[in-house]
Symmetry: C2
Subunit: 213 residues, 2 copies
DNA sequence: TGTTTTCGTGAACGTTGTTCACAAGCTCAA
DNA sequence: TTGAGCTTGTGAACAACGTTCACGAAAACA
């Protein structure tokens, strides 16, 4: 009957994710977790060093899931024989938007957590997951031949990802909820359309100047 | 000798901004403010309803300052007779990057605060400041004639702003600090170059399909 | 069975945001 | 000047939080 140590950890993480989704990072409380998991506060600290580690573990799960949905979306297009780069990028972006919408509270928490982590230690499994996501986008860009070397293609992938990400997060601070989705998608369509057109016409090779001070 | 009520509020806000800049949102503590301002805890709550209001007020100041630097940057270009749209957008972006770098702790706090505010009440002075920023970008886009109607130009402005914003915030979660600035700027240059080229070639009018489910 | 190790427990500590009864100071009419 | 009414500063007090830890139970092993 009693749960395994790992099973209990999973249960705690599931509860933690639900709490984050409902009320954001402030809603992740040790006592609430303990109560809902049917264990004591001390036991939570037996499974995880502190709440930050719980939060980190939840984020890992989310990033994993995001990567999986991204790959699944690409596989779908593959099966349908869609090769158009614009379509494929839009599909990737759509997958990302859906994912964020499916995790209204916990995804913002991922970002906020990332920011706090900025001063902390070096690279770890966290960055590996993010890099995997970048690679997927880079793979899509590889399909459309824009005459980009590997470096520039990787740069373009990071730029595209960051831009979509910015659109989504900026969009969800606005007000009405029904308009948000439409506005976000219009921005993404504009961005991707302009991005592809720009790459086709060599916009990526614009000479560099006007650097910041 | 004694400070005015408004003077004391300013002092509190200055202290609060410094605290946010040093340690992020978690570092904004009522007792610390009180101690540094030379008043009691209760007096802080006499000036502001709660710490959220303090945080909000600090953010207002930051947004105001950001708007001012943006306008100043535009005025500089005007004086120098720079009319090239790409140059002007890059200058805007550079001003934004400089601003974020100048407020390493408090600017992330602005964003995190905005996110918490998502569920809260309706529009207020906050959104007005953000809209003003959008208008500046839209003004720049107006200069370069891309055959955009007002709606599309506003959309493009928001898209561009959100994208730059995403690049900057995504960039600063990475590791090394010296490389960050360079990476961010390379992404911005790519984005702006591709964006302008894309607009010139009508990428903004790509037909809409592949909408999200 | 005896011993050692592991593990769950919840009381306890320090810190946080926020409140509130009280006191000190200010304003202004008498 | 005096005193009543009001505003404003104060810090003790409260509840809730993250985290720790001594203790006892259970499990593992000899």
């Amino acid at each position: 009957m009693a749960l395994d140590k790992e099973e209990m950890s999973d249960k705690v993480l599931a509860i933690a994710e639900a709490l984050l989704n409902e009320g954001g990072a402030d809603n992740l409380k040790a006592r609430t977790i303990a109560e809902q998991a049917g264990i004591s506060v001390g036991s939570v600290y037996n499974l995880f060093a502190d709440l930050d580690e719980v939060h980190r573990a939840v984020n890992m799960r989310l990033l994993d899931r995001l990567g999986a949905t991204g790959i699944a979306a690409m596989a779908d297009l593959e099966r349908q024989g869609v090769t158009d780069v614009r379509h494929r990028i839009l599909a990737m972006a759509a997958a990302y938007v859906r994912f964020v919408e499916a995790h209204p509270g916990s995804w913002p928490a991922v970002l906020a957590f990332n920011r706090r982590r900025a001063t902390r230690p070096g690279p770890d499994a966290y960055d590996a997951l993010l890099d995997a996501l970048f690679d997927i986008v880079a793979g899509v860009l590889k399909a459309g031949d824009f005459g980009l070397d590997d470096d520039r293609r990787a740069l373009a992938a990071r730029t595209l990802w960051s831009s979509v990400h910015g659109i989504v997060t900026s969009g969800y601070v606005a007000n009405s909820n029904s308009r948000q989705a439409e506005e976000i998608w219009r921005q993404i369509e504009l961005l991707v359309g302009v991005f592809v057109k720009g790459l086709e016409h060599g916009g990526a090779f614009a000479h560099a100047d006007a650097k910041p001070a």
